[in-house]
Symmetry: C2
Subunit: 254 residues, 2 copies
DNA sequence: TAGTGGTCTAGACCACGAA
DNA sequence: TCGTGGTCTAGACCACTAA
């Protein structure tokens, strides 16, 4: 046979991929172990380079394996953070000066803010709509990147009306104890209700680079809107999360 | 040049992919439109088949485009459902005989249960742990597939202790008005609290087939646990969602 | 330096969809 | 029937990593 797939048979690359997956499931390859490379698969299965490649790409696109250029293809480890969407925003926490992120920390794992930037610009239209701003009104945008065990896992950009927060610590890189929500409370705009909307898709090339995502890893897009008691939206926080690094959790009553 | 990438330059396939993306963003190709095929890209960019292919595969793996064998590569449409995780489980709804899914329906879009199967088997260990069952105890598992506009979007498997629900309508394919939660309430095990845990990853080949997912579409894994007032877990529902068809939404107070 | 994965070429046969 | 994407071959040069 020179090409094409036999009508009754499993695809060659699929068969190779399945055998590798089975070996991983059986524990023959542990997380972090190196899998057989392209050359080895070519000889053991007697296939062309591109076919061996495609077999390995199946594992990568399912998030099971990760290629490192010049080194090999390795079984990925999966050790996600648990992000509690509701308890973490309870008043008792930010009101008392805790970081909103402290509950994200499993024992001994450090989630660190890698870079912060605060800018003021004209409000993007989809943000202006939610915050009830007029055309041309300006927003204060706080962008942060969070790093876990040396790997970036979360990009967060928080948008607030520039006129609302002018002069407060919110416009500083260090927003102070309790963070932005404590400052909003001091300004008389304490958040009372939150809405989080979650999507998931494959990352753009830019996002994949910023989060150092191996191919086959989707991202969560979490958009949180904070409302005051009277129902006014005061903050919109757009987040991009490495989906392989997070479990999102919500608890609520019936 | 015969092969390899010029050290300073953008990859060929990446450049082609970027131009296609720009054209889509600019509106030259609308959702549902057919993109230039492999043959057309080969001639217009003077590249080999595999290179044109790889350019198109970039768009597919980012979920921007979708290949249909024998027809072409098309710009994908994105029109997700909004799944409200909290309001939809309020007592007022299932208590009154509404389907839990009714709030998922945007006007004029029909979410239909495609297939139902109810089985009884020994509890998988991760389910037994949560439900507090002993080794060898049995569970009643209700599996359903939901279809929107002819496309499957959600696979749901609900696990309950077999001894707890024996003889009730829960063991029937039609669980009756108000669904499983109304029946649990009648049995004296009304759910009072819920926990939903969300992950996202690329689908396995099986999941991709069952949900008819184009490549480049991740899935949500939503695991909901229902607790009674005294904190006993009475139901574990494992769901697999087409991430391109859903926005998950949670609203809660500070 | 040897071996790895990343990109690229120039061919081929196949199953499928639309006309 | 004809064009499409899906699979496959057998070569090639490159950048990167680890020994």
């Amino acid at each position: 046979m020179t090409a094409g797939q036999g009508s009754g048979g499993e695809r060659k690359y699929q068969r190779i991929a399945n055998e590798l997956k089975a070996a991983i499931t059986a524990g023959e390859y542990q997380p972090g172990d190196r899998l057989p490379g392209e050359n080895e698969l070519m000889t053991t299965y007697q296939v062309a380079r591109m076919t061996a490649r495609q077999a390995l790409s199946v594992l990568q696109s399912e998030g099971i394996a990760e290629a490192r250029k010049g080194a090999g293809v390795f079984v990925r480890t999966f050790r996600p953070l648990r992000r509690r969407g509701i308890q973490r925003l309870a008043q008792s926490q930010w009101g008392a000066g805790h970081s909103v992120w402290s509950t994200d920390l499993d024992e001994d794992r450090e989630l660190i803010v890698d870079s912060v930037s605060v800018t003021e610009k004209e409000a993007p239209s989809h943000i202006a709509d939610v915050l009830g701003l007029r055309r041309g009104d300006r927003v204060c945008s706080r962008s942060r990147r969070f790093v876990l065990d040396g790997k970036p896992v979360l990009l967060s950009t928080s948008h607030l009306s520039a006129s609302l927060v002018a002069g407060s610590a919110i416009t500083q890189e260090d927003s102070g104890a309790g963070g932005v929500y404590a400052r909003l409370a001091e300004l008389g705009h304490a958040p009372a209700r939150f809405r989080e909307e979650i999507r998931s898709r494959m990352p753009s090339a830019t996002e994949a680079q910023e989060l150092r995502l191996p191919s086959g890893t989707p991202v969560f897009l979490v958009c949180r809107t904070a409302f005051t008691e009277d129902g006014t939206a005061v903050e919109v926080n757009e987040m991009v999360l490495d989906a392989g690094s997070y479990i999102l959790e919500y608890e609520f009553g019936a």
